[in-house]
């Protein structure tokens, strides 16, 4: 059986015929060439395959492509564009920038998944404590870093985001258009 799916991936509409058993991660990697989303375990444990589905972090090895029909997916390739240009630096999302600055990765295999889980956290909690970050990353395994720098990088990203949002809010008329008052 083939099933037609229509979803938005990184802001662009995507339409495909797919077998119902196709996993979302395979549609992303093999059909769309978005190989930034990794497969570490394929058994829902490691979080390397984490993407945002309607803004929430999910493990794309445990979602069927047909379940994503009608939904909004963001992968690591779309992370930077998911925020306002004024919040980016060198084309990077603050999370990506912070991981580079705070050495939040070694081999980098787990990193795309960690970034997406971090993005879900920061969308709900602009100032997470160390414990908040560790809890939010419970579903992401890293074999290299020992997590210390990952946690520091997510907190640095939160700080960068807050700073830039405040700076943005202070800029005259930058975002005031249509605000009413």
């Amino acid at each position: 059986m083939q099933y037609r799916v229509l979803m938005r991936v990184n802001g662009r509409p995507v339409e495909r015929e797919t077998e119902p058993r196709t996993l979302l991660v395979h549609l992303l990697r093999d059909e769309l060439g978005l190989t930034g989303t990794h497969v570490g375990c394929d058994t829902s444990q490691c979080g390397a395959c984490t993407v945002l589905m309607d803004g929430r972090a999910v493990k794309s090895c445990t979602v069927l492509a047909v379940q994503a029909d009608g939904h909004e997916i963001v992968t690591v390739e779309g992370l930077a564009d998911s925020v306002d240009a004024a919040l980016r630096y060198g084309g990077l999302h603050p999370l990506q920038e912070a991981f580079a600055r705070a050495h939040g990765l070694q081999c980098g295999f787990c990193t795309p998944g960690v970034l997406m889980a971090g993005a879900d956290l920061l969308s709900r909690n602009p100032d997470p404590s160390e414990a908040d970050v560790r809890e939010a990353l419970e579903g992401n395994l890293c074999r290299c870093t020992g997590y210390e720098n990952i946690v520091a990088a997510v907190r640095l990203a939160a700080e960068l985001l807050r700073e830039r949002q405040q700076a943005g809010a202070g800029r005259p008329a930058a975002h005031a258009a249509g605000g009413g008052d």
Partner: protein, 289 residues
Amino acid sequence: MIAEAFDYERADSLEAALAALARRPGAKVLAGGHSLLPLLKLRLAQVPLLVDIDGVGELGGVRVEDGDLVVGALARHRDVADSEAVRRGWTALAQAASHVGDPQVRSRGTVGGNLAHGDPASDLPTAVLLFDGVLTVASGAGLRQVSARDFWLGPFATALGEGEILTAVRMAPLGDRAASAYRKFPHPASGYAVVSVAAAVRLDGEGRVAEARVAVGGATYVPFRAAAAEAAMVGVRPDPPACREAVADLFAGQEPAGDMYASADYRAHIARLYAADALAAAGAAAAAG
């Protein structure tokens, strides 16, 4: 890993889902997929047809109705864990939901799927049993109500018949001067409960226990209410030593199960410690108002 091929149908109403299940023997409901898809991928299960109920709006939501908490089958673990109303009035349920897997699992997994799967190591059945939940089950013949005490029949066996759909679970409030708490001893690798305990305490005007409830999960093939411990709590002040004494007979009439990771004796020991802790926490929260 790729599952054996199956057909897929998306239902946009409860009626359509029931009809689709009835048309195809062996067809299964797909909710969050976080128990079913791992089984299909490992080819431990095989299905001719999955009926996806994710789009059935009437099955979603967490709401308070005439004072009772009504959790729709499609409510995600995350929605339950984050709900202010649940955290305040049905604390043990919110805590149980926040202990399920990890954040990604809680984004997708549903309450209905968790209850219907019937895994003895699941978190939510223990909490639903604590609150004397009433489960609504739909079939072609209409709706029926099943009490939590009658819903789980054995490992992965429930009162759901072929082609039936769990639509919601309803839980009455504990009342004034009452509170609840959940404690879980997770398996270090899988994160599932080796033992979990949900407890609730209601106090009288003098700060003594008027009513206590204890539900134990993970230690037996289906979660159970520890009647002897509940009775032993009545009339006492719920401080830690009194709670430890009250749970001495936690397993009265029950047979704790052992496995490669935890022997039956070890499970029973841990369950008593966690039950005393959950009771004391519920008692303290009830006293604090």
